[in-house]
């Protein structure tokens, strides 16, 4: 689920498929039973979300490890 956080602000990324400028949107990411709310770049047309490597291998990986259950 997404909604616009700061529409119209150019963050320097273009959607390869739609050629539209990505904008920061409020994104909900679910892992297991926890839903995280994050502001992330997303394409306003197709909804594709950009998760940069630092976030994926940093905080998101850390959260995933914590949530891995026995």
């Amino acid at each position: 689920m997404t909604e616009k956080a700061n529409p119209g602000i150019d963050i320097g990324w273009i959607c390869n498929q739609c050629k539209a400028a990505l904008e920061i949107q409020k994104i909900r990411l679910q892992y297991s039973r926890v839903i995280f709310a994050l502001d992330l770049p997303a394409c306003p047309r197709c909804g594709m979300i950009l998760i940069e490597e630092g976030l994926a291998t940093g905080k998101m990986a850390e959260a995933e490890q914590v949530l891995e259950d026995k």
């Binding site: 297991s32 914590v66 891995e68 259950d69 026995k70």
Partner: protein, 477 residues
């Protein structure tokens, strides 16, 4: 409804005759919403014991595991399960926890005691003997979590030395199962245990009402329990509260125990409920009337906490057999918010193949959740004062929190604010299911150096004859 129509045959397993302990066939039988283990011994007749009452149903409570067999087996397959434990190569799970009884002495004389401790004059096993047993357990089971048990382990003045020995051998998560009396009275003893490398305290904690302790443990103990938690917090030891649940005695206190535990967080890391089993020493066997099954406990948790925790929060285990336990993990914020962060239902998150991965994951998860993290601010480590901690307290009342969560806040709080609620249903001669036993991941290292699944080690016939304890001699060698 016709009785014949009402009954549904679920599936076959094996059990023992509760009188002569002979292995016999058994059937899991559905009657209405309840499941019974039905079996018949040629000499002693037929037996029926309730093993599961109501929702979530036993049929949906599943988490299949790929069988894994111990590489090093101290028991040879000769007589068949459960008479060859060592473990033997027919076992289908590896241990995630090893338990060693470091004394048979006890300073209480509880109505309930799976080890039937404190009745005999027995010498404690020597440090050298304990070292030998722990090395033998390590060789076969690997770096499991270690439980120091008894008797009452804290009666040993040299328990810190036992912890040091275990650390040297390679055990990295070491917990002590205790009634807490010495930890309450002797703060320095706790410090010495912590300094030696003790990780966590499994504290017998049956309720927040002294009438419960008088009935179950022989005297009022609540003040000492709370003092023990306070001393552990100051020492940096995490505590898990372990209530033994006896139907009609403290099964109405489940919600109060949860509220109390949350008041004592983060020192108290969680609660591990243990419905009473009929082995060792127990108050009169009341048959099915006295049985308190896991689904009943899940529902009581929801009812008695007013929905603070929900029955649907709980998942079957990834390590032991699904019918043996349940668990849920929460994040408990300093403001009192309780948020479920546990795994999704077993079927959806864990395909069908945990195998050794399940055991190692359990070892790591339990270590992480039940240790009091050093990152916890000192002020947070201290439980509230004894005066205010019982039946209320000064911390905000816990309220359930749901909905989206900020990732940064989650990462900041989760290291110190996790709280687990779990339960384990031990098996006795009446409800023993050998399929569950073969999937057991908690082994006792016996005085003669065999790894024996916990329930097999403690199992006694209706006349009190032990399956393993007596064979090995009573009490530690």
């Amino acid at each position: 409804m016709d009785d014949v129509v009402e009954k549904a045959h679920l599936n076959e397993t094996e059990s023992l005759c509760p009188v002569c302990l002979r292995r016999i066939k058994a059937t899991r039988m559905l009657r209405g919403d309840d499941v019974f283990l039905v079996k018949e011994c040629g000499d002693h007749g037929s037996f029926s014991t309730v093993i599961w009452r109501g929702e979530p149903s036993m049929a949906e409570w599943r988490r299949p595991k790929a069988p894994v067999h111990p590489d090093l087996c101290y028991g040879a397959v000769e007589k068949g399960c459960p008479f060859d434990c060592g473990l033997c190569e027919a076992h289908v799970q590896l241990p995630c926890s090893v338990l060693i009884e470091v004394t048979d002495r006890c300073n209480l004389n509880c109505a309930v005691c799976f080890a039937d401790s404190g009745r005999r004059e027995a010498e404690d096993p020597s440090l050298e003997n304990i070292s030998r047993l722990l090395e033998r357990a390590m060789a076969a089971a690997g770096p499991c979590n270690l439980q120091l048990s008894g008797g009452e382990p804290t009666l040993r003045d040299d328990l810190p030395d036992v912890v040091e020995v275990a650390r040297r051998i390679g055990y990295s998560f070491i917990q002590v199962n205790t009634n807490g009396l010495r930890l309450a009275a002797d703060k320095d003893y706790g410090r010495r245990l912590r300094a030696a490398g003790l990780s966590s305290v499994f504290l017998q904690f049956d309720g927040v009402d002294d009438a419960i302790y008088r009935s179950l443990r022989g005297r009022a103990l609540l003040d000492q329990k709370l003092q023990a938690v306070m001393n552990c917090g100051e020492t940096g030891l995490g505590v898990v509260l372990v209530p033994t649940l006896v139907k009609g005695l403290n099964t109405g206190s489940i919600g109060a125990i949860v509220r109390q535990a949350l008041q004592l967080a983060p020192t108290v890391r969680g609660i591990h409920f243990q419905p009473v089993s009929f082995f060792g020493r127990f108050p009169g066997h009341t048959g099915d009337e006295g049985r308190f099954t896991l689904p009943e406990l899940m529902r009581r948790l929801e009812e008695q906490t007013g929905g603070l925790v929900k029955a649907s929060d709980f998942s079957p285990p990834g390590c032991e057999h699904a019918h043996c336990s349940f668990h849920a993990t929460y994040m408990h914020s300093a403001k009192g918010g309780l948020r479920l962060i546990g795994a999704a239902d077993g079927d959806s998150c864990c395909s069908d193949d945990l195998g050794t991965k399940g055991v190692r994951r359990t070892v790591e998860t339990v270590s992480r959740r039940w240790i009091l993290p050093s990152a916890a601010p000192v002020s947070n480590r201290l439980p509230i004062s004894k005066k205010t901690s019982c039946c209320g307290g000064s911390s905000p009342d816990a309220t359930r929190v749901e909905g989206p969560l900020d990732l940064d806040v989650f990462l900041q709080e989760v290291a110190t604010r996790t709280f687990t609620i779990s339960a384990m249903a031990f098996q006795d001669a009446d409800n023993l299911d050998l399929e569950r036993l073969r999937g057991c991941c908690i082994s006792v290292i016996s005085p003669d150096g065999m790894l024996v699944p916990f329930c097999a080690y403690n199992l006694t016939s209706r006349e009190g004859k032990g399956l393993y304890r007596r064979r090995n001699g009573v009490g530690p060698q």
